[in-house]
Symmetry: C2
Subunit: 394 residues, 2 copies
C-alpha cells in the first residue's frame, strides 16, 4: 500500500554526516568526519562514583517522572556557569533542560517557524540545524560570513529585502563547520542591528568553552537588551554527549513556549542523567575536565594544521580555529569534495563534504575536518592519506 | 516587544495533569492525579550494579554519541519481548528507541499529520497524545467507545464521513484514562476494518504488561497484514520512567521516516540509559520485576474500588480495570469535576478532571483516578476524603 505521510516529510533527508559516520565505524578508517569528542577524555571513573551516589542518596527520585523544565539544581548550575563564562545575566527560571542542543534546535523551529518563514543563517551553517528546521518548511537565506563572523552589511541588506524574517540562526563561537569565532566588534554590531529590527536570534553555543587561545568573548545573549536572544548549550563537548543533556536559555515568556513544546515532545529529559551531571558538578570540577579536553584538542588542532601545511598541495585554503572541533577546507572551485571523499574512503580516510552545510546548495569544493576524535598518530597518517588523494585532483 | 511565534503555538496548551501534579507535590496531598509508577518498586539496588558494570565494561561507548536508531542489543531485546508478550513478528530493524512513548506520539504527529488532517481517537483518549498532536494542527474526531473498546460501527461511520482520515490513535490495553481493555473480538474487527480502508493505526501500549487477571491479548500489530500499525511502547511502567526510554515498532519503510525525524529532533536517546536497560535485562529478570509491580498494583486497585464502593454516594459509575494504572469515574451529568477538584484540593486530595481527555471538550462530569502511586493507607484515606466532598455535590 502507499502510505500518505505529512508534506513536511518530503523536506527531511538523512543527515549526510550521520550516514558517513556509519561507514566510518570500521576501525581501519581514519575519520575526520564526525563531530565526536575524544572518548578517552570522558570521566568514566568519576561517573561510576557519581551514578552510585545518585542512586544511593536519591534513587527513587532519580528514576521517577519529573518536571518538564528539568532538575532545579542543574538548571541553577547552568545559569551560574553561563553567567560566569559568557557574561550573561540568567536565572534558574531562564533554563530549560533538553536532550542535547539538537533538541533546542528542533524546538526553535517548532516555536517560531511557519511554512515559508525566512530563517537567516551563516553561510555555511550547521547541517543538523538545517535538517531540524526543514521539518517546519521555512526558507533559508544565507548571509555571507568571513573570518570575523557574519557580515553585518549583508545581514542588514537581507533583513530589508525579506519581510518575513522570523529567526536568525548563528554559532558565534568556533562555528560548525567553519571553525570561525566572531570578533567582539562583530558581536556588538550584530546585536545593535537585531535590536533595532527586533528579530529573534538563536545563538547556538556548543563549543564556546573550548577556547585554546585568546580571551573568551561574551555571548550575544549578554548584550540582549530586548530579550531577543535564545541561547542553546550542551554538556556534549565539555562532559560527554551520550547523556544527551543540553539546555535552552531564554527570557521567561519565550522559554514558556519551549516548555510547552518539551512537554508534548517527551515530557522531560532523563531524570537520572540530569542528576548525574548535577552531582558530578558538585563533587568534581567541570572546569578541570574542560582544561584537560582543551589541552588535548589544542595539540590535535596544531598537529592537523601543521600536517596540512606540510602535506597539502597548493591552492587549498583552510581556517585556523582558535577553539572548538573543526577546521574548514576550501578547494579550488573546479574540485568536487564528494568525489575526493569517494577516493578517500578507498584509502580509509574520511571527512564531510561541505555542500551539505549550505542550505541552498553549491559550494561543493569545500569540506569539514574534525580533529577532536582521532589520536595524534592517526591525525598525521590520515592527513597524509588525504593529501595524497588531493594531489590527484589539484 | 511582541514576538511572533509559529501559528501552531496558539494550539498548544499546558497539560492539565502536569499543572495539577505541581500542586500535588506537597507531601500532605493524597494524589490520585498523576500516572506515576510506585517508586518503591524501582530496582534501585540492581540499577547500581548495572550502572557500574556498564561504565566498567563499555564506559567510553556508553558516554559517546551513537546511532539514531538506538542500541542494537536493546532493540533486539524489545523485539523479542513484544513477540513473546503480544504475538507480534518484529525484528531488531523494526524498532527505534525514543524518549519514552511520548516522543513516539510527537513523532507520529510529525510523520503523518498536515494541518486539518483528521485523527480518529477513542473518546476519551490520552490527553498528552492530544497535546502532542495539536502541534501539527489536525482535527480530532472522537469515536465512541464502550467497556470493550472502540465501537466498530461508529468507527466505520466516521471513516466514511471524513475523507481525510490520516491516522487512528488507540490504546487497546488498559486505556488511559478509562482503564478499559479491548476485547479480542473488537481487536479482530477493528483490524479487519482498518485493513479494508488502509488507514495507519497508532497503537499506544504503555500498560499492556500490567495485567492483573485474565489472559494477555495479542496486540493489533500482531494482526497487521498490510503493515499499517505503528506500535508504541515504553519501559516507564515496567522498569522506571526517569530514564525516558521507549520505542516505536513499525514496518521498516515507515520506521525510516521516524528515524529521520528522530535524527532532527535530538540525534538519539541517552546512550547510557539505553545500555543500562539492556544490561539490566541481561543480568536480571524484567518479568520478575513486572510480577512484583503487578502484585502491588492489584492490591491497590482492589482497595481503591472496594473503598469507592463503600464510601461513594449513589449515582456515580466507575470502570473496573483488569490492569494498568487508572479507573475512570462518571458523575451525574450536572456535576462538574473541576468544581469537585477545587474542593478536594482544600481537603488535600486530588485527581484529574476528565474534560481534558476529550479533544473536543465537554464531559466535565468525569475524572481519572490513579491507584499505582499511593500506598494502601493513603488510598483508603484519600477515597474517604473524596467521598466526603462528593456527598456535598450529589
Amino acid at each position: 500500500m502507499n502510505m500518505r505521510f505529512a508534506r513536511r516529510m518530503e523536506k527531511i533527508r538523512a543527515s549526510e554526516t550521520r550516514e558517513i559516520l556509519k561507514i566510518t565505524e570500521r576501525p581501519e578508517v581514519i575519520s575526520f568526519a564526525g563531530g565526536l569528542p575524544a572518548p578517552e577524555m570522558f570521566p568514566v571513573e568519576e561517573m561510576k562514583q557519581v551514578a552510585v551516589r545518585v542512586l544511593e542518596e536519591e534513587g527513587k527520585k532519580a528514576l521517577q517522572y519529573a518536571t518538564t523544565e528539568g532538575f532545579v539544581p542543574l538548571r541553577e548550575k547552568i545559569a551560574e556557569r553561563l553567567n560566569s563564562k559568557f557574561k550573561t545575566c540568567l536565572e534558574t527560571e531562564n533554563i530549560l533542560i533538553t536532550n542535547g542542543s539538537q533538541q533546542g534546535l528542533d524546538f526553535s523551529g517548532k516555536v517560531f517557524l511557519d511554512e515559508e518563514d525566512v530563517v537567516l543563517c551563516e553561510s555555511p551553517t550547521y547541517l543538523a540545524a538545517i535538517n531540524a528546521f526543514k521539518a517546519y518548511m521555512p526558507r533559508f537565506v544565507e548571509v555571507p560570513s568571513d573570518e570575523n563572523g557574519m557580515i553585518i552589511e549583508e545581514l542588514e541588506q537581507r533583513i530589508k529585502e525579506y519581510d518575513k524574517v522570523k529567526l536568525i540562526y548563528v554559532i558565534p563561537d568556533f562555528q560548525n563547520p567553519s571553525g570561525v569565532s566572531w570578533s567582539m566588534e562583530r558581536r556588538v554590531k550584530f546585536m545593535e542591528l537585531v535590536t533595532k529590527y527586533e528579530i529573534p536570534v538563536l545563538e547556538d553555543n556548543p563549543y564556546g568553552e573550548l577556547r585554546f587561545e585568546g580571551d573568551m568573548l561574551p555571548a550575544l545573549k549578554s548584550m540582549d537588551e530586548k530579550g531577543l536572544v535564545i541561547l542553546l548549550g550542551t554538556f556534549s563537548k565539555t562532559f560527554c554527549p551520550g547523556l544527551r543533556i543540553g539546555w535552552v536559555a531564554a527570557e521567561k515568556e519565550i522559554l514558556a513556549k519551549y516548555i510547552l513544546v518539551k512537554q508534548g515532545a517527551d515530557l522531560h529529559s532523563s531524570t537520572f542523567d540530569q542528576r548525574i551531571i548535577a552531582k558530578y558538578m558538585e563533587d568534581y570540577d567541570l572546569d578541570e575536565n574542560v582544561e584537560k579536553i582543551k589541552r588535548v584538542y589544542k595539540v590535535r588542532r596544531d598537529l592537523m594544521l601543521q600536517t596540512m601545511k606540510e602535506e597539502f598541495p597548493g591552492g587549498i585554503r583552510y581556517t585556523y580555529p582558535q577553539g572548538g572541533l573543526f577546521t574548514w577546507v576550501v578547494l579550488p572551485e573546479t574540485i568536487n569534495a564528494r568525489e575526493v571523499l569517494a577516493k578517500c574512503l578507498d584509502n580509509n580516510v574520511a571527512f564531510v563534504p561541505g555542500g551539505a552545510f549550505f542550505p541552498n546548495g553549491e559550494h561543493e569544493n569545500t569540506f569539514r575536518m574534525n580533529y577532536s576524535n582521532m589520536d595524534e598518530d592517526r591525525i598525521v597518517e590520515g592527513i597524509k592519506r588525504l593529501a595524497e588523494v588531493l594531489r590527484e585532483f589539484v
